[in-house]
Structure formats: structure tokens, C-alpha cells
Symmetry: C2
Subunit: 682 residues, 2 copies
């Protein structure tokens, strides 16, 4: 199968090499099929282009035209190179050797510890940028962490526990400066659904296992798996997740109690308890949402013209931006003060988050089993039981976390390629270490990365200041967290995630491709009705069926043409590769049209870039059928790599040609053979 490479190169790089396929073909022909005829004339190929009709002239004309003299070969990227078996084995061995050696090379070290790349270039400008950005992100992450813990169904301190160690790990391993690792709304929601009310031990174990899975995926280079989550599926999933998160916060906003794992269940539960609605919680919550949305607009205000901004205007704009961006922190402080006054003067009219334990969490092993007390009897819950409780969450939580993280990297990459493997290792390590400080699963946060980027972060070192701020909060601020109203936190979450409902993609999706639009809708609805992880799997499944359908049903154009010599023939042009699910379909179509027309048939194989054994079987049958019907069948412009697949079966009467001027001669020859056979029979 070495042919492929040569043939490909010769076809696509320089026209001087176009004679090469003929050598390949002759070799193959010599190796197996004796009845194969090649209308492939070497002298004609080296003649001037004006004497060369057909595809080769087309090819050469194009190359001449393109190159006009210079034609520097750069590279052929061939992800799916066909080499001979021994070559392949050798390649695998050398790759393995290379991989083992490369672990210790300087280049790999720099790639796997991106800090080595940027730390030597670190300067005072970077320090200022990172300090400002890290501090701003810290102000955002503290209220968010408290709030996201409630999405995960855990006490508020667990959000903070997951917000500092991961930042430090990411400084060492992260490849994208804008990613602030920590709890996110979607990860918290997925944790909630996987843990399903079984307590904090399950959440911490999930964090550990997610990290392990991400590390393993990174180690085995499985980052490509998220390529199978398409844009529409991702949009549908994110939008549904946002709505579920909003739903999960409605109970705190209204001060009622409700539960449920899916969108529908939660709303049912809310309506059951709607008569217990608490006025002051509702007023405070809705008020906070309005204030947050207004401050969000404030952050985007720009005084003065864009091109000529005075210094005063610049300062005003910057101040507005800082004020708007710290809206969460400001709101938490203000409402905390309000809560404090109400609490000191008796029972507050709204629910507050209550006792938050002071100090850093213990550094200890994640819980691989724990004791549960139930009606006085103590039962041991083992690691296997915990794993089976978490179910498919163990796979889906790390995948979705990775998906979120890569989405951020893409958004801020400015066209630079992303090292998915490195990101997997970075967030995997963050999660594993976070599980030692009793955190639930986290990943890069899109909302905070926007703040980070806008605050002028220069390197991942910004995470250091964020992490330190969280540690300070844990050490000194927790007593004051007591007074923060629950409905304020609910308002912070709602005001943030409603913008995750991707209303803006509806129009382009509809305009771009209807089937993708419906796919997004189906994914969205599935995610609302089913548990989130099943919903996204439904979307991915439908998408994969689409690819399979695509492979199974190629388009074939059918034309009735007349050759220069006056012979009528049918030209069939399949538009993609011939592989097993499509072969019978193609055979039936070719047979139908051939029998109906009863004239010679030419199959134009220009677009057939691949084939398999099943296709070869069908080609063999086709040539046999045509021979039985005594109807000529010719293959035009078949790539040598594909041809070699077909010739593995040594099909009889298999005629390939590359030059349209020979059509008449080939058809004439076929007739002569037929006549001779008739004479012999008489």
C-alpha cells in the first residue's frame, strides 16, 4: 500500500511525477490480476499538455497555472497514511521508542510544564497585569464559589475549598493564560445530578475520579473525543444546563423548599411548595437580579468617542468597568451588611446562609469509603458502592469539564492551536489535588475567564493572586459569610447563567443548516427532560447516526454522454469514498441505471479517496455482472491506492483508464473481444 503515498504525492504536488502511478499499477497488476487492462500510456504523459486530454491534462493545466515556474513542495499531511504492513510495524516501534525517549527531552519538558516557557520572560508589566486580573477574578470567584456550592447541593464552604489549590496547579501546567480553574455552574450541576443527595463524600470522590479520568485521557491522547460533540449539541446542552441551574435557584430566590433532579421534576416540586413563598426573600432576590443586570450594563458603558478618548473619560470608563465587574462582590458585601443588621436585631426576614466553618480545609485523602448512620445503625459504604452510585457521571463529568475548558481556550486563543492534551493534564491534576482539600469537581470558568482577560491578565500566574485571596477569605472572612442572604446568592447565579442560554445561535443555526438546528432543539429538550448526561448523549448519538448515514448514502450523478468517436455511454460519478455501508446502495444504483440504458458505463472515480474490502467485493460482482450482460464497464481516474484495494480480489474484466482519448479505443476493443468470442462459439 505504499502506492498510496507515492500516488498521492505525485498527483497533488508536481506534474512531473504523474508517471509514477503507472509504475505502481504495473507492479500491482503483475502481482495479482491478469485480466486487468490499463489504458495508461507513459509517453503520452510526458508529452506536451496540449496532447493530453482528460484528467491528467486538467491536473497539469492546473498545476502549471498555479505554479507558473516555481513549485516548492512543502508537506503532505496524511493522517491516515497507508503503508505496507512491515512499514507499519516498524513505524509503531519507532514511534514507541520516540515516545519513551521524548518524555525526557527538553522540548517535551517545556511542553508539559508551560511555566518554563513564560516564567523566564516574566517582567514587571506582567506582574501588574496578573495582580490586577488575579485580584478581580478573586472578587468574582468568592461569591460565585459560595453560590455554586448550593447548585451542587453542598454547604457553601466547599465551593471555596475548590477555588485555590487548582489555581496553583494550573500555574505550573496550564497552557492558556485566561483560564481560572475552580467551581463552575455546569460542573456543579453535573455533580448535583451524579451525587443525587448522597452527601459530600460522593462529591469529593467524584472530583478525584474526574481528575484521574482526565489525566488518563491526557496520557492516552484521547482529547480528540470531544471533537464528537458538535456545535449544535454543545449549544443545546449549555442552554438546557443554564435553564436547569436557574430552576435550581428559584427555590432560594422565593425562600421555599423544593427538590428534583431534572428540569420538569424541579418545577413540579416548586409549584407544590409555591404557597410557602416568603415575601422578603423574593423582593431581595428579584431586586438583586435587577441591580446585577443594570451593573452589567454599567460595565460596558463607554463615555466619549472611541477614536479620541480624553484621559478623564478613560478613567471614568475604567472605574465604571471595575464597578460593574465587581458587582457580585459589591452586592454580597452590601446584602451581607443588611443581613448583619437584621440578624443582630433579631430574626432576619430572609434566609441567610448561616454558619460557614472558619479556616483552611484539612489536606487528606479523598474518601474511598465512609460510615453512614441511619436510624442509629452505622453502615459502611465501600468504594465500589460509591462508584456505582455515581454511575455514568464518572465519565460524563470529566468530559463536560474538559469541554468547558477547551471552549475557553478556543475563545481566547487568537487563532493559535490549542494543546488539548496539556489542558487535560492540567485540569486533571487540579481536580485530583482539589479532591485532597474536599472540593467537588471544577474546571475552567467561562464567566471568570472573560473577567480575567478583560482585566489584562498576562500569564497563568494571575491564578496565584486569586488563590491567595480565596485563602485569606477562608482564614478571616468566613464569620461574616453567615449573614449573606441566600436569595442574593441565587440572584448572582441567575443573573450570570441566563446569558448562557444561547438565544443568539438560533438564527445562524437556522440559516446555516436546518438539520443542525433541529439537532440543537432535540438536544436541548432531551437535556431538560432527561438527566443532563443522558440528554447530551442523545444529541451525540443522533449526530453520529448522521455521520454513518452520510457514509452509507453517497450521491451519484448520472449523465448520458457521447464520446468523440460517437459512442454513447453513461457516466456515473460517486462523490465520496466507497466503504461498506454504501457499497450495496451504489451497486444497486449502478445496476439499475446500467440495465435501463443498456449502453457502456464509465464510473468516474475522481472523488473516491478511499475504499475497503467490502467495496472490492462489490466491484468484483459488478464487473462480473457487466461481463455476463456483455455491457462494457470502465473505471476512470481511479487512485492507485484505491485501485490496489480493488485488485486484492483479482477481479476479472476490471478496466481502469486515466485518459479520455482512449475511451473509443477501449470500447472498440471490448466489442472486438466479444465478436471473436462469438466467432469461436459458431
Amino acid at each position: 500500500m505504499d502506492n498510496d503515498n507515492n500516488g498521492k504525492r505525485s498527483n497533488s504536488v508536481t506534474f512531473v511525477n504523474v508517471t509514477e502511478p503507472s509504475r505502481d499499477l504495473e507492479e500491482t497488476a503483475g502481482g495479482g490480476s491478469t485480466n486487468t487492462i490499463y489504458a495508461y500510456d507513459n509517453p503520452a504523459l510526458t508529452a506536451s499538455t496540449s496532447d493530453l486530454p482528460g484528467s491528467l491534462r486538467r491536473e497539469i493545466a492546473l498545476r502549471n497555472e498555479l505554479s507558473a515556474g516555481s513549485n516548492n513542495f512543502t508537506e503532505i499531511v496524511d493522517s491516515d497514511v497507508h503503508t505496507s504492513y512491515s512499514h507499519k510495524l516498524r513505524a509503531i516501534f519507532s514511534l514507541a521508542k520516540k515516545k519513551v525517549c521524548s518524555i525526557w527531552t527538553k522540548k517535551t519538558l517545556y511542553k508539559r510544564f508551560p511555566i518554563l516557557q513564560w516564567l523566564p520572560l516574566y517582567n514587571s508589566d506582567c506582574t501588574v497585569g496578573d495582580l490586577l486580573a488575579g485580584f478581580t477574578v478573586g472578587l468574582t470567584v468568592i461569591p460565585q464559589a459560595l453560590a455554586y456550592a448550593s447548585i451542587a447541593g453542598l454547604p457553601p464552604q466547599y465551593g471555596l475549598y475548590g477555588s485555590f489549590l487548582g489555581c496553583f496547579v494550573y500555574i505550573l501546567l496550564g497552557s492558556c493564560k485566561d483560564v481560572p480553574v475552580g467551581p463552575t455552574a455546569v460542573a456543579a450541576l453535573m455533580t448535583f445530578q451524579a451525587v443525587n443527595g448522597r452527601g459530600v463524600e460522593h462529591a469529593v470522590l467524584l472530583c478525584f475520579l474526574s481528575g484521574v479520568i482526565q489525566l488518563l485521557m491526557g496520557f492516552f491522547g484521547l482529547g480528540f473525543l470531544i471533537d464528537f460533540v458538535s456545535g449544535p449539541v454543545s449549544s443545546g446542552f449549555t442552554s438546557a444546563a443554564a435553564l436547569i441551574i436557574v430552576t435550581s435557584q428559584v427555590k432560594d430566590l422565593l425562600g421555599i423548599s423544593a427538590s428534583g433532579n431534572t428540569f420538569v421534576d424541579t418545577w413540579k416540586s416548586i409549584f407544590k411548595d409555591i404557597h410557602n413563598i416568603r415575601m422578603w426573600d423574593t423582593v431581595l432576590g428579584v431586586g438583586c437580579i435587577i441591580i446585577l443586570l443594570l451593573l452589567r450594563i454599567v460595565a460596558q458603558i463607554n463615555f466619549g468617542d472611541k477614536s479620541e478618548t480624553s484621559k478623564t473619560n478613560k478613567i471614568i470608563n475604567k472605574s465604571l468597568w471595575v464597578f460593574g465587574t465587581s458587582r457580585n462582590a459589591i452586592l454580597v458585601i452590601v446584602s451581607g451588611i443588611v443581613g448583619y443588621f437584621f440578624c443582630t436585631s433579631g430574626e432576619p426576614p430572609f434566609k441567610v446562609i448561616g454558619e460557614v466553618p472558619q479556616g483552611l480545609p484539612d489536606f487528606q485523602l479523598p474518601p474511598f469509603g465512609y460510615s453512614k448512620e441511619n436510624n442509629g445503625t452505622i453502615t459502611e459504604v465501600g468504594i465500589m458502592e460509591m462508584i456505582s452510585n455515581l454511575g455514568s457521571g464518572i465519565i460524563v463529568v470529566p468530559l463536560v469539564g474538559f469541554l468547558e475548558n477547551i471552549a475557553i481556550c478556543k475563545a481566547f486563543s487568537n487563532g493559535k492551536p490549542i494543546d488539548a492534551t496539556q489542558e487535560l493534564l492540567a485540569i486533571g491534576a487540579s481536580n485530583v489535588l482539589n479532591s485532597f482539600v474536599q472540593s467537588f469537581p471544577g474546571t475552567g470558568s467561562l464567566s471568570r475567564s472573560a473577567v480575567n482577560n478583560a482585566s489584562g491578565v498576562r500569564t497563568p500566574l494571575g491564578g496565584l493572586y486569586t488563590g491567595l485571596l480565596v485563602i485569606l477569605a477562608l482564614l478571616f472572612l468566613t464569620p461574616y459569610f453567615f449573614f449573606i442572604p441566600k436569595s442574593t446568592l441565587a440572584a448572582i447565579i441567575i443573573a450570570a447563567v441566563i446569558f448562557m442560554v444561547e438565544v443568539k445561535v438560533v438564527k445562524p443555526l437556522w440559516r446555516s443548516k436546518k438539520s443542525d438546528f433541529f439537532l440543537a432543539i432535540v438536544t436541548f429538550v432531551s437535556c431538560l427532560i432527561l438527566p443532563l448526561e443522558q440528554g447530551i448523549l442523545v444529541g451525540i448519538g443522533i449526530n453520529l447516526v448522521y455521520i454513518l448515514y452520510h457514509a452509507a448514502r453517497p450521491k451519484i450523478s448520472v449523465e448520458k454522454l457521447t464520446s468523440v468517436g460517437g459512442a454513447e455511454y453513461l457516466l456515473l460519478t460517486p462523490d465520496r469514498c466507497l466503504i461498506f455501508p454504501s457499497t450495496d446502495y451504489v451497486r444497486n444504483l449502478v445496476t439499475k441505471h446500467s440495465i435501463r440504458q443498456g449502453i457502456p458505463v464509465i464510473i468516474d472515480c475522481s472523488h473516491i479517496y478511499g475504499a475497503d474490502y467490502t467495496a472490492a467485493l462489490v466491484i468484483e460482482t459488478l464487473t462480473k455482472d457487466f461481463a455476463t450482460r456483455d455491457q462494457p464497464l470502465l473505471f476512470y481516474n481511479l487512485k492507485p491506492s484505491v485501485s490496489s484495494v480493488f485488485e486484492g480480489l483479482s477481479p476479472k474484466d476490471f478496466v481502469v483508464f486515466y485518459d479520455y482519448s482512449e475511451v473509443d479505443e477501449l470500447l472498440k476493443n471490448r466489442k472486438c473481444i466479444k465478436k471473436q468470442m462469438e466467432i469461436m462459439e459458431v
Copy 2:
């Protein structure tokens, strides 16, 4: 998306229409993206071909050359037609209406009852052919039926119960004259594995459910599902099944007792009981195998030269063929007589099959539940429990049965298209009705269809005589079946199925495509180690992953070229459609090469026949990235249908051109725009 059809037609049918895409593009451009530039010059297209460099000239040159005057458009087969939404809805409605109406048209009636096509043309020649063939098949099916029942783990009469009613049904509904419906070795083995020793009620219910599933598949047009079983998977599966069948018969051949569901289990069980080996069973069995293999050769003997055979030679050859083909029946009769003499003179030295109930089976409902006696207590087994016992067999047994049947149709179709739906309905109805006479699942038998074809069958009516012969056997011959030695039946099975081990495909598979060779091996080994149905699913799964990988990793050729005007540029040519799993890969490759070279980039989209929303997102990002880097990016020869997908997102700086002579101008314009902007900024 109507563009697609027009565009496609215009591209692939006649060069006069090549101006059409421009109209489509202008329409689309007017609809959405304002920054899109089209280097699409109508006058140039209608000019003489010598003035047209680039793809269009190539296209036109090709068409001129192909057509040389006449150019009759026939048809474009477009399985995946893109139409606008309203069009699609209308199409669905009209299709539904058509479908409802078509059920009652004469054409559909003739299609669904193929007997209406051939019965009016039936003549005395057909009668002779069908009678001879039906009788010969009958002589083959009776010993096979007795033997296959033992593969299924059921008493011998159940094989005969499944060998007559299905034949009669197939006369009415069958579309392939060579198919003799009845028990087959593979179907019996699958039944054995699905029933797993739970008794005949499960086998009969499985027959009913298989028929229902096949009918439903036929009704919903799901016959295409077997397209996803590729040649290598099918070969690996059949070979493994043959070996398992041989294994299952070894115990009867040696007169020992053994059990087991998979290949490995059964051999373990055989070796455990090997010390109980019975000499006479073994001698008789091995002797029978040798005789059968010799008679198989006898059937193929041809005296005299092929071209000039005398009448005597012809008669001798025919007699040898009849003698060889009836080898199973002859052997059963002879060994039955031997058994009879031994039995009447005391205990026979070998095991005989024993009592076979006389008469036809009752026509009754299949068992939707039954009573089971266990240690004196009677428990009721409900339908749901039976279904859950059968497990995935309910899906896999009908699918494999259908697969076997279609393989026969293909083998004897002589190039005519096969109506898979009709075959599903025919064997589905056969199985449903067979379940009313206590049969286990059956389908078309490959070994008997070869006999049928070679005996000169003309129409499906041959099945009538086969069925009548089986009925006569049930009515009058069962007392004599008592004396047939078990090891003779085992020998019949072994001598038949060892030829199902597809040794002959190894070489062509290896030569044709190495990956397919390994796939066949993996399927083969999986089917031996795991239960058969799981084994084939492993093979299909790997095959689907291959398709997905294929979609995810296109090949991209990279060339550095110089335009006529002297501008250097990079030409990137992806070789297949751009859909979601490949988009990030393509983006990374394009970005990597573009940044490394830093010269204008042209993406040749000639082979991109499809795209989706995710690809559009990436194209939007790419154009943005290139604009940020101030590196020109041009798209060459983008199909209007694909272009419309990309333009759904209104990407900025999205430049498509169809004429290579404009490259220099386009690149110059881009530079001018840049310079103007620089001037403005200064």
C-alpha cells in the same frame, strides 16, 4: 438550500449552466453577509474556454471532451437532497400521501406479491424444473432438519416442523427463486445460544418474535441496517459460527456428553468427558464424514471434454451429480437400515436418535407463557420473563437470519437489484407462521439454495414440492427415524459446515486491505470467545469507529505555490467533507501551516461536498484569526450548497473565488485595504 440541487446539477451536467452558481451566491450574499466578496465573473464564464484558467476551464474542457456535441442529461441521484424547510415539509407530506395511496396500486400489489409476476407465465418447463429441484431440496432438507434441531438443542422433530409452512409462505411472498426457507445451521446455533437450555417454548417464541421484528423492519424499510455489516465482519462471524457448530457436534460424533454456550466452554466440557468416548459412534461418525466428503467430490466429477460432451457422458455426469447431491439422504437411509438391524438384534453399539413423534404438529398460538415444574412445584413463566430470558437474541437472531437470506439473494441475483424489503416481509411472515407449528427460527439456507439452483429451479414454486415431501415424511417416515445413528447426523452437519469456514477470503483480504483483514480476525476471535451475538456486535462496533475516525481525520495536502503574478501562497486541499468531528483538526492544521509560512493561504474546496454548522463556526473563527494576523485567506471552488452553510453565520472577510486568474487581483486588493487602513490610523 435549494442552491445545492441547482448548483450540483449545473456543475455536473452541462457546462452551459456553470453560470448558475453565481446567481445562487448573489442571492445568498444579499440575504445575509455583507462583507463577503465574490470573485465570480459572469462574462468570463461565457467566454471561450481558452480564456478561462482554473477549475472552470478544467470542468468545461472535460465536458467538451466528454460530450463532443451531444450531452443528454439523464438524472441526478441525490439521496441527501438539500431543500428548503417548506420544501422538505411539503415533500414529507406528499411522500406520506403517496405511500398511503401506493399501498393499493397495482404496481405495489405486484411488488409485494411477486407470485403475481411469475405465475401467469408459468408453463410445463417450469413445472419440470421446479418439481425436480423441489424434490432434491426435500431430500436434503429432511436429514438437515433432523440434524439442525440438535444444534438448536431441541428434539429432532422440531427441525421438520419448521421445514414446510415457511416454504409455502415464501411461494407467495418471496422475490428470489433460489431461496429455500427452513432451519439453517447458523440460525439453529443462534437459537441455541439465545434459548440457553430453557426449553422449546422459548425457541418457538423466539421464532415468532424474530418474524415480527423482520416484518416490522420490512414495514419501516429498515433493511438497510445490514449494510452496516461489512464483508470482513460477516466472514469472521460465519467462520466462527461454523467452528462452533462443528464443536457442538463433536460430542455426538464421539458419543460423549458435553455442554457449553461458547467455543471455549464446549471444548473444555468435551475434554472433561473425553474418557467416556464410545468407539462405534466415533468410527461410524468419522466414516460418514469421509464418505460425505468423497460424495461431495463425486457430485463435481465431469467426464469428457467440456465443449463436446457425448450424450452418454452427459447422462453419467448427471447421475453422478444426483448421487452426490443426495448424499445426505442416502447416508441417512443406509445408516438407518444398519441401525434398524442392530436395534432389532438387541442394544445397538452406537446412540440412535430414538422416538420421533408421528404426524403433523398442531396449528396453535405460539407460547406466550407456560408452566414449569421444578421439584414438584409448578411456576408460571410469563411472556415478559421469557422475553428478558431471550435478551438481545430477539434483535440479533432476525438480523442474522435476514443477513443470511440476503447473502443468498445476492449470490444468485445475476446482477439484478434485490428487494430487501420484500425479502424481510417474506421471511418475517414465514417465521411468524412457522411459530404456529412449533418451529424454531429459520431463514433461507445457503447450502440448499445451491442445490436448488443447480437442480434447475425456475420459480419459488419449487418450495411447494419440498414442503409436501417434508409433510409426507412427518406423516409416514417418523417411525423409521428412530434408528438413525446420532453420529451420522453429526457427520452430516460437520461435513456441511466446515466449508463455511471462509479460508479462501484470507488471501484476498490480506492483499486488499490490511485493516479489514485484522477486523475479520478480531470478529472471528470475538465470536469464538464471547457469545456469537456479542462477537458480531464487537466487529460491527469496530467498523463503525473506523467510519467515525474517517470522518474525523480528513487528509489535507499542503503546497507552496507561486501565482502568475509572482505572489507566493499556500494551497491547502482537504479531501472530503467538513463536518463536526474534523473541524478542529482542520482548523489546527490550517493554523499551524499558515503561521509557519506567513504567506497568503488558499483553501481548495473542490472535494468538500458537505459541511455543517460546526464547520461554519470554525470557518468563521479562521477568517477572523486570519484577519487579526492580517494574512489573506481565500476559498477556492466552494460548492454553493456548502457556501450557503458557511454564510449562515455571516462570517467577515469570507472570500470565495472560482477562477485562478483572479488570485493576483484578490491578493492585491487585500493589501490595498490594509494600506488604506494604515493610512487612516496614521
